[in-house]
Symmetry: C2
Subunit: 352 residues, 2 copies
Amino acid sequence: MQRGEIRTPAFMPVGTAATVKAMKPEAVRQTGADIILGNTYHLMLRPGAERVARLGGLHNFMNWDRPILTDSGGYQVMSLSELRKLTEEGVEFRSHIDGSRHMLTPERSMEIQRLLGSDIVMAFDECPRADQPRDEIAASMELSMRWAKRSRDGFDSGGDDADCAALFGIQQGALDEDLRAISAQKLTEIGFDGYAIGGLAVGEGQEAMFATLDFAPEQLPADRPRYLMGVGKPDDLVGAVERGVDMFDCVLPTRSGRNGQAFTWNGPLNLRNARFAEDTGPLDERCTCPTCGTYSRAYLHHLQKSGEILGAMLVTEHNLSFYQQLMAAMRETISRGRFTTFAADFRRDYLG
Amino acid sequence: MQRGEIRTPAFMPVGTAATVKAMKPEAVRQTGADIILGNTYHLMLRPGAERVARLGGLHNFMNWDRPILTDSGGYQVMSLSELRKLTEEGVEFRSHIDGSRHMLTPERSMEIQRLLGSDIVMAFDECPRADQPRDEIAASMELSMRWAKRSRDGFDSGGDDADCAALFGIQQGALDEDLRAISAQKLTEIGFDGYAIGGLAVGEGQEAMFATLDFAPEQLPADRPRYLMGVGKPDDLVGAVERGVDMFDCVLPTRSGRNGQAFTWNGPLNLRNARFAEDTGPLDERCTCPTCGTYSRAYLHHLQKSGEILGAMLVTEHNLSFYQQLMAAMRETISRGRFTTFAADFRRDYLG
């Protein structure tokens, strides 16, 4: 992309409100991240898309000069906002921040993402719960496909700005192979620069997610990036890459970092556990991040127990670094034809 | 000192619980800080002084290899703990964290500060309210002077560890010139490596504080550092340096940073104020800190309004940098014999 290369498989740290929480952007870059994600829903409400545009765009506002992918707001508006009203036109809702009234449509979502200065724009979609009846899943998917076409048209009418950006469509259909196939075909007919697999990681569990990933990625064009939205745990990432996924985003490494959960090659650790109170070792012996090079588990335990901001900072930095080291290891073993061995070794160590 | 030079007048950032809140230690150093302060009361309760010692001392634990001054716990035990019982022996109290029972005496305070590995150890004292009757202030001061002698003896019996550390006595006597003189004489007779002015910045106001500083510093030995504890606002620091003070500590730049109050050469700013929402300028045009070099007031306003950790990080870094730039400007103008002009110019710009 114009703003920098994205090595795949890629993990995108989530920068919801124009910040990857508890991290300076230069430190995010130092973990190895090529691209971050911004949330349209949050940014449209605060500080507002027009305001971000007046302030020079999201990159300038938050001091991140590499690519940014923005979601469409479709998922968050259904999960976070209040008093939603869904129609063919779009979603009317009240802000969870101040109760103010807003409308999101495919056209408005494209406009907001253009105002933010997004490098990868996501089509506006609806994300149903995986446990809804099949006819509701089907109707929702059909709506998302009509919105995908309107997103394409809205994006294309955006003028020169759109020339530098990419537009991704989002496959829906929950766990149903036939619905996923229909969705993939409709998206392919419209034509996108990349394709996301939406509607997973919504509580269905890893087994059902992997079962869906056994068919969903290959329904999508092989020559375009495939992006699994909102995933996931380290073992989710490895299993999804095995099944053909190229891109991921997830709040897990950042959110867990603030809660004292650290990811390591030997599985997750809860730093609040008393067994770390006098543990002078690093979080992870193999990790190359600044936290592991400098601080003991005992100190990180103390910071977590004391509710100190530095605890959130250091464990977030480790977690994001660990995720990028994991992606780098997958890229490297894929390029050497040794990914199957890597995945087996990873699961042995990580899942214990 | 063995761990590094302390340029005076010096401002010591407060690292209460083995962290200068929201700052990595290397960033604290980059602001120009030569020394930080640790709180005996907090550290004895969590993680515990013996535990810190087993983990290699406070410097190693928190990754700060320059000097650390530790307070004696005397002030915090009276302001933060529960169910205090004050006797000639010391203070018995319950932890504000878990209600556990503890005893602080001059001897135990010296032992704790030795276990932490402090470079500048503070004598154990009692800090009365400035509005108490004179006889209570006098009795409290006399008790603090008896504790000062016991602190000296306890410190000196600490063996080789004490050889590398300095011990400071603390003058008491509230706003009373005669009591302050008696306190200074008793401390000088005992003999310390430096002398603190305690019992100020406890609500008496700047005018009363300056009136006390018109006589208190010169009552103390001229060839030893004079340290004004718990002070203060930028204009407090300038006025206190004019009156002969060499060292300061205060939570103000760090605490304010977390609350969105930024200090500038033109006075404090509250970043939550709506007038900053589209202000593309830096916090302070003259400031050389990374925050001012990189981020707009509009972005910092957004982070504060959104309750983002990065907002606390960036404004804390600015505030600590601003304080160090202020101290550096005072050192420089003092050395050039131009401090009086500097102080007048500072007040004109800062107080508007």
